[in-house]
């Protein structure tokens, strides 16, 4: 049966791939563009074919997740080539934010705890990235990102060790205190962190030369650079999501979910509660640091005002609205973050509010805070949960 299906699928996929390759090579203006197009189409076809194999999800879950990630990355990167640079910039920040959201979603989904300080952990990563690149400008980007992640994990360990052992709202309160303290910490070490003005990266992450070939002659280097940074962020986010999806489904992830649902049962089957809780918190801080480091790379600079308590609260709102404890919720939250500024300024112009007025400048807080309360009261799993519910109703009807 299974072999049958594969035998039937293979020729279709082959034909589709050949057609796609020929079409893109013929229709593209330059050979380089044609090759890129055909790679994009063929990769998508390969991923779709792999995903449509029967029982793949149960027999080879990792392969299935890898194919899904590749497909999503392929489509996303393909789309970014057709967007203007301000939209791409928004998407890049959204991708960085979705990594942070994923970490928080994991913390809550896996251990039932919550952090109100992920903005500060983001700041740890962002400043670690900037400080390291200012001292060692030649370190490759990937290595610097990993160093930032390690810094985030270390601070997470320091704060998480005492707080995660306790029942009750200690972790939430402690991370809140950390978020409030973070700007003071930054100005205490102003010789490193640059004080109020923050830090600039020594070298801008510019697009490699080969990317120029995909644009019409005369396209500004800014567009190319934005595109490069956007795609880089999307790829990093893809890798982060792939790891997290595996972690959610792994033995550790299942153990953590048991802790959330019934900690006594978890202890009885031999799970060490403190260790698992601290581990979940460290993962969430490390992911926040990765998102922050990426944001430094995108903005080419870092400013202490960004990492205030308000950012931590925004992060919480985004993941709750997107769907806390879910992976798709982090994607939804990231997309909301990417376009929220545009949407809110659109609302301001549509309603005729004075953009410099008190009300318009507070609209962000009113909308996000209100949605936070309403979501938690009426749909605790957010948009992701609502969609899942809708989907299961549609499926049960047919």
């Amino acid at each position: 049966m299974r072999l049958d299906r594969i035998r039937r699928l293979a020729p279709i996929a082959m034909v589709a791939a050949v057609v796609a390759t020929v079409l893109s090579l013929v229709s593209a203006a330059t050979t380089r563009e044609g090759v890129a197009l055909s790679i994009a189409f063929d990769l998508a076809i390969a991923c779709v074919t792999t995903l449509s194999l029967p029982d793949l999800k149960s027999s080879h879950p990792v392969v299935s997740r890898a194919a899904l990630t590749l497909l999503a990355l392929d489509v996303a990167i393909f789309i970014t080539f057709f967007l203007n640079s301000s939209t791409n910039f928004n998407l890049a920040t959204g991708a960085a934010m979705s990594i942070v959201l994923l970490g928080l979603s994991f913390l809550t989904g896996a251990s039932g705890q919550i952090s109100l300080g992920n903005g500060a952990f983001m700041g740890v990563g962002a400043f670690a990235m900037a400080i390291w690149s200012n001292h060692h400008a030649t370190t490759p980007i990937f290595l610097t990102l990993l160093i930032a992640v390690a810094c985030g994990a270390l601070v997470g360990l320091l704060l998480g060790l005492p707080a995660t052992r306790l029942r009750g709202p200690y972790l939430a309160g402690m991370t809140l205190a950390f978020a409030v303290a973070f700007t003071f910490i930054l100005s205490s070490f102003s010789s490193w962190t640059g004080g109020d003005s923050g830090l600039q990266l020594p070298t801008e992450a510019t697009a490699p030369r080969w990317l120029d070939g995909f644009f019409h002659a005369g396209t500004s280097p800014l567009t190319t650079t934005t595109l490069y940074i956007t795609d880089f962020s999307i790829i990093v986010a893809g890798v982060a999501f792939f790891f997290m999806a595996n972690l959610f489904a792994s033995r550790t992830g299942r153990a953590m979910r048991l802790i959330r649902d019934n900690d006594v049962a978890a202890e009885l089957v031999g799970i060490s509660l403190p260790r698992a809780r601290v581990a979940a918190f460290i993962v969430s801080s490390a992911y926040a640091a990765l998102g922050g480091a990426l944001l430094t790379l995108i903005n080419n600079s870092v400013s202490p005002q960004t990492y205030s308590f308000a950012l931590s609260v925004t992060i919480l709102s985004l993941i709750v609205i997107g769907g806390i404890g879910t992976i798709s919720g982090a994607v939804i939250g990231g997309i909301i973050y990417a376009f929220s500024t545009n949407v809110i300024s659109w609302i301001t112009t549509q309603t005729g509010l004075n953009p410099q007025g008190n009300f318009a400048s507070q609209l962000n807080g009113i909308i996000f805070g209100g949605l936070l309360i309403l979501t938690m009261l009426f749909a605790p799993l957010g948009i992701a949960g609502a969609l899942r519910h809708l989907w299961s109703r549609i499926r049960s009807r047919t």
Binding site: A177, F178, I366
Partner: protein, 299 residues
Amino acid sequence: MDPFLTSRIVTDVLGGLTNGVIYGMVALSLVLIWRSTGVLNFAQGAMPMFATYVGFALLSYHFGYWPCVLACIIAGLLIGGLTERLLVRRLYGKPEINPIVVMVGFLIVLEAVAAAIWSSFPRSLPSPFSSIDWQLAGKPIALSPFTVYEIATGLLVMTAVAVLFRFTKLGLQLRASAVAPEVSRLLGVRVGRLLTLGWMLSTVVGVITTVLVSSNFFTGLTPQVMDGIFAFGFIAAAIGGLESPVGAIVAGILLGVVNQFVTDLVNQNAVIIIALALLIVSLMIRPSGVFTKRTERRV
């Protein structure tokens, strides 16, 4: 040789006492709500802030300081009661993170609405007493009429809460409905009403704190006025043990004094860092708080 009252140590202790009383009151109001409803109220700074703005709106109708304070307290009673009835009541028995998230949302909404109505610029309130330190032989002793007013009001509020809980029938009912809601209900205590009353009470403690903080000439009233103070209040409550009102007050006052020494000997920025470090160390050594007995959890 300095005279005793103007020596550095005494000055720091007296200065710290003023802040400590404020932290102690915030910690107390957090503990009151945590004990009775199992909710750590992250809007415990924002709700009183809003009430204070509402009360002092009367200033533009030429009311004096004290009528405005009374209006603040009435607004606080209303906000506390309505919050419990309309918002918090839906959250009892839900997973631990639900009340946290909702109260954080409430905090954002209150701060944003306050800034939308009254703008986020600091608003100076009339101070009933002078904030200029008394002098002794040409040197200031860290006490002014205003700080005495702060400390005295703080101690008065704390004593009033203690008397209410320990010596009145209402206090007994409040304690009973916090410890054993089911049994209290069977014995005829109207637990629901008492929970609302508990929230009103703790909001009023918060309102008095906020009025004290923001009538200080140097701070003024802003929508974020309580954010930092809330953080210190939580640190104090956690060090003292979230279950213990006495612990919260003592830890709050000590934290204020420690902070003053840190400000004096290191700098202003180090204050919250040291406080955070204290919290980490104290949770490592005595997770359940310095002032509470260890309790085993039953399944």
